[in-house]
Symmetry: C2
Subunit: 426 residues, 2 copies
């Protein structure tokens, strides 16, 4: 199917920054097949008039737990341990696999509506995010959370993860990682076993790392090293790794992350909300780490809106460093798109011929885009996500004039309400 | 005119927090005339079904420059002095009075769409914000920026400010302050003269105060005191004062602000964006200062969205203090509503009988409010402003199902585009 977006104001990559201009975008076979020049034999099945639309690469949410949407606004203004072990984990234990499917669809509806085309998900029940992704049309990288505090082998969960990978091999919008949960929930033998298994299977790793001060204190007490050193010593960094949070990484840790090519997904809203502070994003970038951006789950954010997250990313480091040029608008957009795609090993995140046709089209008549000024500054500082008019993923329209084409939102709301009623009773 | 909002989920004040429940709200003569109990002889001209709406007090934007919307995304990733003196002031000099009218209407359209019913505006050309407010139906407190670096008297601008006050006395949604711009733009004799004049006229003061490190250094070099001491010594605090920013206020300054009953309008986005850091909001509250919240102008924000600002307020101090209970959701909502109203001396900002009928009604079916969980947490952490369905100011509907009833947005966009074209040419 061919889709032509005619005469749209498009944000293209230019060096490490961006260049904005009017272009015709030719989409075919799920890819961006041509810019201003139709590929041979191109016949559009649909033409979108892009004259009053700002077209950008779809945002890449590099760390999410889409099943946690059912716990939105359920546990707020709490310290990290009270939040996780006092509220979230007990609530999670009541979630059935089917609940996670509906909850993931809810998060995906919110993500599509606010410009995200691709997400990296750590789920609780294997198979549920994938089921929802097949239906929603999104692009996703999925892992099942693996944890063993008992320092034993936990082959059952790994087997579930590999079964999911095999079962959904037919959907080329899906790819899979292994997901050892965190240093504080995985013993060293277990981490080593997961790393070995990832190497054997040719898979990468998605892990929470150095998220809280409590984690650092605990790992130091138990292993006399930092969380980064602990995970490195278990061999995790010998396979491609995306590490979420990294708020507590000293200069030596940052060098380790850079030397091992570890990708760091920063989650400013979640880190602030749980009192974990600010990740040293400028310092990680200075060290040469590929930084990407995530929302984390709705239980600690509480939105799944990457524009809000990009705005936070562009602002909070200026605030904490008192440097108005720290993390520029160009940096923020690159981190939220290209660098996320790089971290996930996916050919998306920028408007270039040969890249995936994953695009967000924003209404240029929205008040927050009036006047437009610098479009990249607008994306980082002015928009809130509600400007998103149309979304295209893998060349297919999944949101048209603010109407979802793949997800039955009313049904999702109904099912989620039922789940929440049941959880409150349990 | 009577308006009944039937069976709405309403956020009412309860101590320093809030209590949410289903209520019938009776609006009459611009006021909240009854809650669950119709006032005598009440006949509704309109009934709004509130079943799927979350009704909250309209947000109070306690520091704005609505005319600056024409400079949205025009000067980003710059240091404070380069931003203000290198870009904004030169651009401002080309603005005609009529330009500021259209620019203010644009800001007001964005504010209404994102839940704000009342704003405190420091304008450049007298009369223009007031003209726009008469038309938009918003509630506003207006001042004309006064500045004299030459330490002289500048009666012309004060005369303009007083003329505007007298001219618009008929509009009871408008009230007026005197607006000495800032310590670095007003000499001590000038400040003293403005304070005297305010006292004579029975008016309050709106001033920028202790915004940047550069200001503190300059005032120290010239006057051997802090900006707060400088302004106090000029007698400004002897009249009711609302001071914007206050990022650089030490413990002694905070005591001075509290002792003089100075209201502080914090502007987290603007302060971060210009590298001015974080205002010590928890410490100001601890000292007993009435803190309120503002967006600042679109030239340094770049939005006029108080929900975004409330989210930043609730998150950044948790981050900078590494305390997850610092500025709770309840604090953030109170600061964005009741405390703003208190700072401006207006009977709005809470849903109580006798208060102004200034309300924001949010769509409970929005993904970001699904599931709802704690409604106050939702307002602070989950929403982005796009959930606003209906807005009522002074008992009148100014936004109905996302359509503005008072502002011709297309005309405003057209006029603003013309202004921007002209500015780029000049």
């Amino acid at each position: 199917m061919g889709l032509l977006i005619r005469n749209t104001l498009a944000v293209l990559p230019a060096g490490i920054g961006h260049a904005t201009g009017h272009h015709d975008l030719y989409l075919e076979g799920g890819d961006i097949a041509g810019i201003d020049e139709a590929p041979e034999g191109f016949t559009p099945d649909e033409v979108i008039d892009g004259t009053r639309l700002l077209t950008i690469p779809g945002l890449v949410n590099a760390h999410a737990h889409t099943y946690l949407s059912v716990m939105r606004n359920a546990a707020d203004d709490l310290a990290f341990n009270d939040w996780l072990f006092g509220t979230i984990v007990p609530l999670e234990s009541h979630l059935a696999p089917e609940d996670c499917y509906w909850a993931s669809l809810l998060s995906q509806a919110e993500m599509i509506r606010s410009g995200t085309t691709c997400f990296n998900d750590m789920q609780m029940h294997a198979g549920q995010t994938s089921r929802a992704v097949v239906e929603s049309g999104m692009r996703a990288v999925v892992c099942r959370a693996l944890a063993s505090v008992s320092y034993g082998r936990d082959d059952q969960r790994i087997a579930e993860a590999l079964r999911e990978r095999d079962e959904f091999a037919c959907c080329d919008r899906l790819s899979f990682l292994l997901g050892p949960h965190a240093p504080y929930s995985c013993g060293p033998d277990y981490l080593r076993m997961v790393a070995d298994r990832a190497r054997e299977e040719g898979m990468g790793i998605h892990i929470h790392l150095a998220e809280s001060q409590g984690e650092s204190v605990r790992i130091w007490a138990q292993h006399h090293c930092t969380p980064v050193e602990y995970v490195r010593d278990a061999g995790i960094f010998d396979v491609p790794t995306i590490a979420a949070h990294c708020t507590r990484v000293n200069a030596s840790d940052r060098t380790i992350l850079a030397e091992h090519g570890v990708n760091v997904a920063t989650n400013p809203a979640s880190n602030m909300k749980l009192g974990n502070g600010f990740a040293p994003v400028p310092e990680l970038m200075e060290a040469g780490v590929n930084v990407c951006l995530g929302t984390d789950g709705a239980a600690s954010n509480n939105a799944q809106n990457m524009f809000r997250e990009m705005g936070l990313l562009a602002l909070v480091h200026k605030g904490s460093h008192e440097l108005p040029r720290c993390i520029s608008a160009d940096d923020a957009l690159r981190i939220a798109t290209r660098q996320g795609a790089k971290a996930l090993g996916l050919p998306c995140g920028s408007i270039e011929v040969g890249k995936k046709a994953d695009l967000a089209l924003l209404d240029l008549d929205a008040p927050s885009l009036t006047p437009l000024g610098d479009p990249v500054a607008a994306l980082a500082y002015a928009v809130n996500g509600s400007e998103v008019d149309t979304m295209i993923i893998d060349g297919k329209v999944v949101l048209r004039h603010r109407e979802l084409t793949t997800i039955d939102e009313e049904r999702v709301r109904f099912e989620v309400a039922r789940i929440c009623e049941r959880l409150e009773m349990s």
